[in-house]
């Protein structure tokens, strides 16, 4: 049988990769992709816990469903913002949208 730790470590690695992506990327769309990776990592974590530790109530799985739902909504909305940003500034790079400063 696969130990729980395998899933957790996988989730941690996936999360860290997404974390790196969010920080390192410039393009708004790439950042969104990295955010999706982090969300997937969280889902794995919760489903693993639900399957191993909470088999009668499996709240983690329910939660993962909601996470996926919210992620979908978030992607749609974020892409709308990105579109608008692109239209205003002719660029979808987040570091070029820097007028909100001193």
């Amino acid at each position: 049988m696969i130990p729980l730790e395998n899933f957790l470590v996988l989730s941690a690695i996936l999360f860290a990769l997404g974390f790196y992506g969010v920080l390192a990327r410039r393009s708004a769309i790439l950042i969104l992709i990295a955010v999706e990776l982090m969300l997937a990592a969280v889902s794995i974590n919760m489903v693993a816990f639900a399957a191993y530790l909470d088999p009668t109530r499996f709240t983690g799985i329910i939660f993962a469903i909601f996470v996926i739902t919210v992620a979908a909504a978030e992607v749609g909305l974020a892409l709308g913002i990105v579109l608008r940003l692109f239209r205003e500034r002719a660029s979808a790079n987040v570091d070029e949208a820097n007028s909100l400063k001193w």
Binding site: L23, R26, V94, D95, N98, K101
Partner: protein, 633 residues
């Protein structure tokens, strides 16, 4: 009405004050009747307390039982470390004060109905008077130093309000400020003293402090310092040297106020305080000596200043200061009996004198005695009651002042310098009293306009004069045990006066003769110099003009204080102002702001506006917090 309900006494005028302060314009006659009736009730209750008090004498000994004191916890911090009880305590001193305060207050209020008729703020006047009475009654019934201090400040406030009653007049406003600030100096000392006592004794309860002191709980030197601070409060409130300067100026207030507050009651609060704490003073005789000599200096100095003062109320003010000095001398000699007895009699005849002078001022609108004269034809009642009060003040047998002054002299019998000074002062008292009476009521009228204008005061003003004159005449007799028994007091009303242990009065014929001789001699000198046109007195000024100037200028104390304020206080103030401007403001406040501005100007570039930078900062925070959480759990 027993002694345990004594807390009702201050409550009644306090309630009346609230009603008058808020609703006096809505009440018929602005509510003066409310104040008078309330005060009459208080007098009745005070008498009831006095009668009940007699039950506490078993076998001629005062025996305070638990019923006597009533307390409830008001504030308790740190479980008893700092505990203030609202408590009352009644003993002989309290009873004397209760009778004096309530009776004089009633008389003054009745008198005020006539004297203040038609004044603006008539209702407020009675409200303030009620407030004062409430505070004073609370002061004398307090069983706890904190409550006493509260009442002490409250009477100071009432005094301020009433001295400044005619605040449209600049001098009145100034006098009110002067009185408040001068007494404040003493009050700070009083507070320090209270705190020092509490620090060692751990309680504010007066009886417990006395027990603690008598049990030797205090270090001798520590207690001396504490009691001297406590005495500072008494010096300020009772206008003793060197804080006596406010009382003559306080005469800017309405005359009935002067009679009540600045003659009969508030100014004797200092005497009351020292008498109340006298068992502690007995432990540290150095402090008691300070009381003695302060009183002696004040008595003599004020009497000499009274010799030359030209304002009828100021003469009486100096006389008050001087008589208060007498009381402190008695306290300093360790005889609260004599002090309280003198307080008792003095309250009546000095209130009488003030009200009489008020009657004169009311009739002539003139306060300068140089402008008065011959009024006995116009104001016979005022004149004769005033004469009775004056004779009582001068100490002529059988009026009240004679007996009490005799007691003080009796107490000073074994201390020759003190005795001599007191005797001289008593003589001076007789002289200036005679001068006052002669210049005001006898001789030829010097200001004919004022004289023509004069008339006898209405009955509502002369009635209190008559009552007080009667009291001034007979109040001294309570010293005889038989008189008290005749009035129905078991142990004789004389016991009322004797605070410590009942002491049977013995008439000392030699001493009495001597005192009477001094008084009569003083009166004789006064008659010689001021009879008729007082030309001899005018000539006497030429003998020693410097001395006269010294007295007229009140020993230059006011000038001294003024220059102290001008040079020391204002000088130090300007130094501090520079410090405040340069160091506090420019370096501290502005400097701090400029430092923040300087850093802000540079740190604002951290705000790049680039989202990745913020995300990185957030990430750094998350990582740091995770590390902390990981390593601390």
């Amino acid at each position: 009405m027993g002694m345990e309900q004594v807390v009702l006494l201050p409550a009644i005028p306090a309630a009346i004050f609230v009603v008058l302060a808020l609703f006096s314009p809505l009440l018929p006659r602005r509510g003066d009747w409310l104040a008078v009736v309330g005060m009459a009730v208080v007098v009745v209750l005070a008498l009831a307390v006095a009668f009940h008090f007699q039950d506490f004498f078993g076998h001629g000994e005062f025996d305070p039982s638990g019923e006597n004191a009533r307390a409830f916890e008001w504030l308790n911090l740190s479980n008893g470390l700092f505990q203030i009880d609202l408590s009352t305590y009644v003993d002989a001193i309290t009873v004397v004060m209760l009778l004096v305060v309530s009776i004089v207050a009633l008389m003054v209020m009745i008198y005020s109905v006539g004297y203040m008729r038609g004044e603006a703020r008539y209702g407020w006047y009675f409200g303030a008077l009620s407030f004062f009475t409430a505070s004073m009654l609370l002061l004398v019934t307090a069983g706890n130093l904190m409550v006493l201090y509260f009442a002490w400040e409250a009477v100071g406030l009432a005094s301020f309000l009433l001295i400044g009653f005619y605040w449209e007049r600049r001098s009145a406003a100034e006098a009110a400020k002067k009185a408040f600030i001068t007494t404040r100096i003493g009050d700070v000392g009083l507070l320090i003293g209270i705190i020092l006592l509490w620090r060692e004794a751990g309680t504010f309860d007066i009886q417990q402090i006395i027990e603690f002191a008598e049990g030797g709980g205090f270090d001798q030197r520590y207690l001396t310092v504490a009691m001297l601070f406590l005495f500072m409060g008494a010096v300020g409130k009772s206008a003793q040297f060197p804080l006596h300067v406010w009382l003559p100026d306080a005469m800017e207030g309405p005359t009935p106020v002067s009679a009540l507050i600045h003659a009969a009651t508030m100014v004797v609060a200092g005497v009351y305080l020292v008498a109340r704490m006298l068992p502690v003073f007995d432990v540290v005789l150095v402090a008691r000596d300070v009381v003695l000599y302060t009183g002696l200096i004040t008595a003599f100095m004020a009497a000499t200043m009274g010799l030359v003062a030209s304002d009828i109320k100021r003469v009486l003010a100096y006389s008050t200061v001087s008589q208060l000095g007498f009381m402190f001398v008695a306290l300093g000699l360790g005889s609260p009996t004599a002090a309280m007895f003198h307080l008792f009699t003095h309250a009546f005849f000095k209130a009488l004198l003030f009200l009489g002078s008020g009657s004169v001022i009311h009739a002539t609108h003139q306060q300068e005695i140089e402008q008065l004269g011959g009024l006995w034809r116009k104001q016979p009642l005022t004149t004769w009651t005033f004469v009775i009060g004056s004779l009582a003040l001068a100490g002529v047998i059988p009026l009240a002042g004679f007996w009490s002054k005799d007691e003080i002299l009796h107490a000073a019998n074994h201390n020759l310098p003190v005795f001599v000074t007191l005797a001289v002062t008593a003589g001076l008292t007789a002289i200036y009293t005679t001068r006052l009476v002669l210049l005001t009521f006898f001789g030829e009228p010097r200001n004919h306009h004022a004289y023509e204008h004069a008339h006898e005061s209405p009955p509502i003003m002369t009635l209190p004069l008559l009552v007080l004159a009667a009291l001034a005449a007979v109040a001294g007799f309570v010293i005889y045990e038989g008189v008290g028994q005749a009035l129905g007091f078991a142990g004789g009303i004389g016991q009322l006066i004797f605070a410590h242990e009942p002491e049977v009065f013995h008439f000392d014929r030699d001493l009495a003769t001597f005192a009477l001789a001094v008084s009569l001699g003083g009166i004789g000198i006064g008659l010689v110099y001021w009879w008729g046109t007082a030309e001899r007195a005018t000539r006497a000024r030429g003998w020693a003009p410097e001395l006269h100037a010294l007295l007229v200028n009140r020993y230059y104390f006011d000038d001294l204080y003024q220059s102290l304020i001008n040079y020391v206080v204002l000088g130090a103030g300007s130094v501090i102002a520079v410090f405040d401007k340069r160091v506090v403001n420019e370096t501290g406040v502005d400097g701090g702001a400029q430092t923040v501005g300087w850093f802000g100007l540079r740190l604002k570039f951290l705000q790049t506006g680039r989202i990745p930078n913020y995300a990185l900062a957030m990430a750094g925070g998350i990582v740091t917090l995770s590390l902390v959480a990981f390593y601390t759990s």
